[in-house]
């Protein structure tokens, strides 16, 4: 024992020394791992496990003036399967565990997804971990799938765009692509407002690649998009589309448009057309019907331009409502013969009569003294030849050549709406000037961009501009009232109880080097004359029935105007129109 004692003590000391050294080494290593390089190691480890993912921002809504949703964002789900792990499904039915065959499960899936089971079943065979069964099913369908509790079925949620009212204002709203990219209309024009800012999150995955529960860390919250508030009334827009669709069918026309502008604000109450695209399914409409002709199509307006010519002549002092002309039914201008729409002996018309009977020759007679430069400047001031302040995607500016480019004939034909072109909204805007005592307000389609808290960033208002004097505007409006009072077409546009005014237009449509057989017939006007609230116009493009005069547009005009007046509770008119002679002796 005595012999072993000192040896053991030495051994113990040696052991302790080695242990201390080892502990020290491990301690240093531990400090190195846990303190010195801890952050780098953690980061390296996290990067191996972590997966970054974008949190898509919810796109804002598009609302009408009353807050009705025209476009919103919803979730849709891609239903996928992992064929590699497809096997019969165990279920408890009435508390008893039962095994449901793959074929039976596939039949259930096919019924819910509304696909052919013969088409679905082969997709479930294979070694793949991903196969898509159906894209973008709605939440109800997704829920039914989830309730089946199939372990080899999973779903990928996506944001999708829903237009609850379908084609109502579809021409204005536009649409987005399947990838969420804004492709047309307000969706595209106001994308900066509607699109939010995507967020970012990470989650950790295990060795098998499956997400570790509760490992999600949001790096940056997604910021939702804001809402776009339109000026249109969705109910009236729908009514107008209904009327136009019926008229297009009745008249066998190519298409039709209607525009109503609030006289005192310039706000567009409706800008309808038929046919119109359903943004839920834009692929179903031909390309020509996916836009907004109200803004994007320019046509030669024809006689509706005579109101502008009359306003110019009166405002410059070259004419009054009683200016007397003697107009034959045709006259030779340089190498061309200009005719009225019907044959008549030389007639002693006042300016009122010229517009009442829509005489091209009479219009030349009272307006020929107005210099071309002056007429051009007035047309510009009325808003022709440039896009409106709406700045709609692909909006046309129409064609208004500079007066120095007008030849001898063009100088005259521009007086009655030929050799220039306008969009329906431009013409409605010109009638807004006449209804608003000569003051032009730029048309407004979008009131502004509104955030979650209701803060509205209004679209900047443009300054009102005086185009003609109040007396001139009122004079022309009273002349146009005679057309509604006395003309057969005008009378067809009248809404009982209200005084209204307006002008017919039967415009030829340029084809090749000349004009085709069909017309763009229109009626533009304002109501009520005693307190103008709305300027509006209806245009029917190439009607095959009633194609030679504007009667085609009158029925739709009357129906839409009556709905606009009634829906907005406009008081019936009082008083009578001033006495304006149409002929002289």
């Amino acid at each position: 024992m005595n012999h072993a004692g000192p040896v053991s003590a030495r051994k113990i000391r040696l052991l302790i020394t080695i242990s201390v050294i080892l502990v020290f080494v491990f301690l240093i290593r531990l400090i190195d791992f846990q303190v010195v390089r801890a952050e780098a190691i953690n980061q390296e480890s996290y990067e191996k496990r972590a997966v970054a993912r974008t949190i898509p921002a919810v796109r804002g809504d598009i609302l009408d003036a009353s807050g009705n949703i025209l476009a919103t964002t919803v979730y849709r789900y891609d239903i996928n399967a992992a064929p590699a792990i497809v096997r019969p499904v165990e279920r408890k039915i009435d508390g008893i565990a039962q095994v449901v065959s793959v074929e039976a499960v596939a039949t259930e899936l096919a019924r819910i997804l509304e696909v052919d089971v013969a088409e679905l079943l082969p997709k479930l065979i294979g070694k793949s971990h991903y196969v898509n069964l159906k894209k973008r099913v709605d939440a109800e369908t997704h829920r039914q799938i989830v309730e089946l509790e199939i372990p080899w079925i999973f779903a990928d949620p996506h944001h999708d765009r829903l237009y609850p009212n379908g084609a109502v204002a579809g021409n204005l709203i536009g649409f987005v692509g399947t990838d969420g990219e804004a492709l047309a209309g307000i969706e595209r024009q106001f994308n900066a407002c509607l699109a939010g800012v995507d967020g970012k999150e990470t989650f950790e995955k295990g060795v098998d690649g499956i997400k570790i529960p509760s490992s999600t860390v949001v790096i940056q919250q997604a910021k939702p998009g804001r809402d776009v508030i339109l000026t249109i009334d969705a109910d009236l827009q729908y009514q107008a589309q209904q009327v136009l669709a019926a008229e297009v069918k009745r008249l066998r026309a190519d298409w039709a448009t209607a525009v109503v502008i609030e006289v005192k604000t310039g706000r567009i109450v409706l800008a309808a057309e038929a046919p119109s695209v359903d943004p839920n399914n834009p692929g179903k409409s031909p390309k020509s019907e996916r836009g907004a002709r109200v803004f994007q199509y320019a046509y030669e307006p024809g006689s509706t331009m005579k109101a502008v010519t009359a306003a110019t002549a009166i405002d410059t002092g070259y004419a009054t409502v009683n200016t007397q002309v003697k107009a034959p039914s045709s006259m030779k201008v340089f190498d061309r013969v200009i005719k009225d729409s019907y044959s008549h002996p030389p007639t002693k018309w006042t300016l009122t009569g010229v517009l009442r009977f829509s005489s091209n020759v009479g219009t030349i007679k009272f307006a020929e003294k107005v210099p071309a430069k002056t007429r051009y400047e007035y047309m510009e001031a009325f808003g022709f030849g440039k896009p409106t302040a709406v700045g709609f995607e692909g909006e046309t500016q129409g064609v208004l050549n500079h007066y120095t480019e007008w030849d001898g004939v063009t100088n005259f034909t521009t007086m009655f709406g030929q050799a220039l072109s306008v969009s329906p909204v431009q013409m409605a805007s010109a009638y807004q000037v006449l209804a608003n005592e000569g003051v032009r307000l730029n048309p407004v389609l979008v009131a502004g961009c509104q955030d979650d808290e209701g803060n509205l960033t209004a679209v900047p208002k443009s300054e009102p501009t005086r185009v003609v004097s109040a007396n001139t505007a009122n004079d022309v409006m009273h002349v146009l009232e005679k057309i509604v009072e006395q003309g057969a077409i005008g009378q067809a546009t009248a809404v009982p109880g209200y005084r209204s005014a307006g002008k017919t237009g039967t415009a030829e449509i340029a084809e090749g080097n000349g004009y085709g057989d069909f017309f763009a017939t229109s009626f533009f006007g304002m109501a009520p004359v005693d307190n103008p609230k709305y300027a509006m116009g209806v245009m029917i493009y190439k009607p095959k029935r009633i194609w030679t005069n504007a009667m085609a547009a009158s029925f739709g005009y009357q129906k839409i105007l009556s709905q606009v007046l009634l829906a907005n509770r406009v008081s019936p008119s009082t008083g009578k129109s001033p006495d304006l002679p149409t002929e002289w002796k």
Partner: protein, 156 residues
């Protein structure tokens, strides 16, 4: 003896350390269990929120479909309602009638929807089991008080 007394003196300290260690371990265990429970609860609540969000979206889509103009027109037309574009007003000042009363025309633009909407959800009610009229029990009419029981004329 000295070692023994030292060992006795250390006894309570060791006990305190051991008990303390055990207490901390148990506390830690309890806290871990509580935290785990909360995580499960949080997970359940998140799942419930997802479910409610989905339900909310389903209902919102159905409401939007039902309140779409197309559905309203179809429903109104089924009830025989037609818009009249010939309004008539009675002016109270002079009791004059403005406009000419005309019956509303049941035209194409008013009787059926012509504006496409592929987002409309088919909300046809489930077919109820009906009973043939011959087999149905006669409806019981509500009891009405006899005229003679009314003490005085209900109107003046």
């Amino acid at each position: 003896m000295r070692n023994l007394s030292r060992a006795r003196a250390r006894g309570p300290i060791v006990m305190i350390v051991v008990v303390g260690f055990l207490a901390i371990s148990i506390l830690h265990l309890l806290l871990t269990i509580a935290t785990s429970q909360s995580v499960y609860e949080l997970s359940d609540l998140k799942r419930e929120k997802r479910e409610l969000d989905t339900t909310s979206q389903i209902i919102a889509e159905e409401v939007a479909s039902l309140s779409s103009q197309q559905n309203l027109l179809n429903t109104a037309a089924k009830l025989g309602m037609v818009a009249n574009s010939n309004p008539v007003f009675l002016r109270l000042d002079d009791q004059s009638v403005l406009g000419k009363p005309k019956p509303a025309l049941n035209s194409a633009s008013q009787s059926r929807n012509l504006v496409a909407n592929s987002a409309m959800i088919d909300t046809k009610p489930a077919k109820n089991k009906t009973t043939p009229a011959s087999q149905a029990e006669p409806q019981k009419l509500p009891q009405v008080a006899s005229v003679s029981a009314i003490p005085a004329s209900p109107t003046r």
